[in-house]
């Protein structure tokens, strides 16, 4: 059996229970893979660690893959997990934000450096919003939650499968917009591997991707089992939270650009849009094409 490690993009959350389920049900083992899962500290970190060979595979969002690859990190996305962007905005229901236009004059909490914040200019542009009328409050993750709960912020940037659910659990009535529906869908979470692994051990990648797709299917079929598998590995987690997060994540698996594509297959359009947005709104300059960053050859042999 191949000893393989997977670096998650963040601490355990609902979507990750897919992988724990895969281990628990022996899906990876059946492909001859002995998998260890390690939680992570952001997609960027996962890109760095996979690029240097610290871990065999990683989970990272499309933006981080582009940022890394354009700066020389030898990695590539080999399978899509969340093909719909999980980025979103959540508002307090009592602040009368009915349409996205109502955001003018409001204060939203965001964390410096978080990917969704850098896409805000695209949101403004796509929805004809005057950026000078929106006040941004910069706080870290937990601070954001407190700010909206306390009413210091009218809304926050919140992951659809993450903080939105936490806020719901805290009893907050919210009005949620997803970036995808606001016209700014970027490539969501993907499985990445280093160029080395892809070149020297394509079979391993193929087996890993195949198992991952099977795990996604298994999780769709039995979300409760997935949560149970995650709880087994991480007993301190909150099963109700995981279940709700997973439920939302499962709705984000397909891309709106290609709603009927098989699980794991990424849409070039999503990558292209992500790349364009980053070139326009972030300090990414490159002549690389969208195909440099991903390949569907392992999902669709």
């Amino acid at each position: 059996n191949d000893k393989v490690s997977l670096r998650l993009n963040w601490l355990l959350s609902g979507v990750h229970s897919i992988f724990y389920l895969g281990v628990d049900k022996g899906i990876y083992a059946a492909e001859g893979i002995d998998l260890t899962i390690g939680e992570g500290q952001g997609s960027g970190r996962a890109v760095q660690v996979v690029a240097t060979g610290g871990d065999t595979f990683g989970i990272a969002d499309g933006g981080s893959v582009i940022a890394g690859v354009t700066r020389g990190a030898p990695v590539r996305s080999v399978a899509g997990v969340l093909n719909t962007s999980p980025y979103g905005m959540s508002f307090r229901a009592d602040r009368s934000v009915e349409t996205i236009k109502d955001i003018e004059g409001k204060t939203i909490g965001a964390t410096a450096g978080e990917a969704s914040m850098q896409l805000l200019p695209a949101i403004w542009k796509a929805n004809d919003i005057d950026p000078s009328k929106v006040k941004i409050l910069n706080v870290d993750g937990p601070g954001k939650l407190v700010a909206i709960l306390q009413g210091q912020a009218d809304g926050i940037l919140a992951g659809l499968e993450g903080q939105v659910i936490i806020l719901k659990q805290k009893g907050l009535k919210q009005k949620v917009f997803s970036f995808a529906e606001l016209g700014v869908n970027t490539q969501g979470l993907t499985v990445i591997a280093s160029d080395d692994t892809i070149k020297n051990n394509p079979d391993l990648v193929k087996r890993f991707v195949r198992a991952t797709v099977k795990a996604m299917q298994a999780a769709k079929a039995d979300p409760e089992a997935a949560v149970a598998a995650a709880m087994k590995a991480k007993p301190q987690a909150d099963p109700k939270l995981l279940a709700e997060q997973l439920e939302v994540s499962l709705t984000l698996l397909p891309s709106p650009s290609a709603p009927n594509a098989p699980l794991g297959v990424m849409a070039r359009a999503d990558w292209q849009r992500t790349l364009d947005l980053m070139k326009t709104y972030q300090d990414v300059t490159t002549d690389m094409t969208a195909d440099t960053f991903f390949t569907n050859s392992f999902v669709q042999p």
Binding site: L11, L12, G38, E39, Q41, R45, Q48, V49, T52, G54, G141, P142, L145, V146, L149, Q150, I166, K170, P235, Q236, A237, D238, L241
Partner: protein, 267 residues
């Protein structure tokens, strides 16, 4: 007469009393102000949650304790050694001391990700971070300590042609202990913070990891529970350092204040 006030068992009591007092004030404040749990949970809630999750928190505490203690001990040994080099060798002082200072001033938290890439996730990078965060107070205090030793004591030792090693063990070390311990205490107090920071960046277990989890989920009462446990670890290390201090330097002025009349000045 006031000399006997805070001594012996009463002294130890007073620590407990002031802690309990602080907890009471906290509980009352939460109730009186009706603070929601996600802003400041009541200590009673924190305690019940902590007890309910002991099976998770205790193993994590053990995981965190390791880099804390190892990193601290490394900082003590290497910090004192570096200070000696700085004090003895002008060349070393000229070349490496600035680097030490720079190393300290660089915000380790910002470059912590590099450690992971270099040293890997887990214990080694945690130990390294704890060491880096806590060795500087030791170096600085040790330098002051060694430089403050009266030159007459050196003269006495040298008049017997004592070797450097003997001078170190019999004159410099005992003479420097009071200031050395000031550095050890600051470092001990920093080490729990350091361990948790290390786990923020480079770990998937331990109290820092739990903290990130609970914090991310806005589970404030468990966040506080972990902070309490973490603080207890830190206090434990600090208390051990203070105990060792009391045991090693019973002769120091700061320890024998009875015939010493500061603060009872007549005017």
């Amino acid at each position: 007469m006031s000399a006997s006030f805070a001594k012996g068992p009463l002294k130890r009591f007073s620590v407990a009393i002031s802690l309990i007092g602080a907890f009471l004030v906290w509980e009352l404040a939460v109730r009186a102000l009706g603070l929601p749990e996600y802003i400041l949970p009541a200590p009673s809630k924190v305690l019940t949650d902590l007890v309910a999750n002991l099976h998770v928190v205790l193993p994590a505490a053990l995981v965190t304790l390791q880099p804390m203690v190892i990193g601290f001990l490394a900082a003590v040994v290497l910090g004192v050694a570096l200070a000696l080099l700085v004090v003895y060798s002008r060349a070393f002082e000229a070349v490496f001391y600035p680097l030490l200072v720079v190393l300290q001033i660089i915000p380790k938290i910002a470059i912590a990700p590099l450690f992971i890439i270099w040293v890997g996730f887990g214990l080694p990078s945690k130990v390294l971070l704890v060491f880096l965060l806590s060795f500087f107070p030791i170096v600085v205090n040790s330098i002051v300590a060694f430089k403050s030793i009266e030159s007459e004591l050196y003269d006495l030792a040298r008049s017997y042609r004592a070797s450097r090693l003997k001078i170190f063990w019999r004159v410099e070390l005992p003479g420097a202990l009071p200031s050395l311990f000031a550095g050890f205490k600051v470092a001990a107090a920093l080490s729990s913070t350091a361990a948790v920071v290390a786990e923020f960046v480079a770990s998937d277990n331990g109290l820092g990891y739990l903290l990130l989890n609970y914090n991310g989920n806005l589970n404030t009462s468990m966040t506080f529970a972990v902070i309490v446990v973490l603080s207890l670890l830190g206090l434990g290390l600090y208390a051990v350092v203070e105990l060792v201090e009391r045991w090693m330097i019973p002769w120091h002025v700061s320890q024998r204040r009875d015939d010493f009349t500061v603060g009872k000045s007549p005017t």
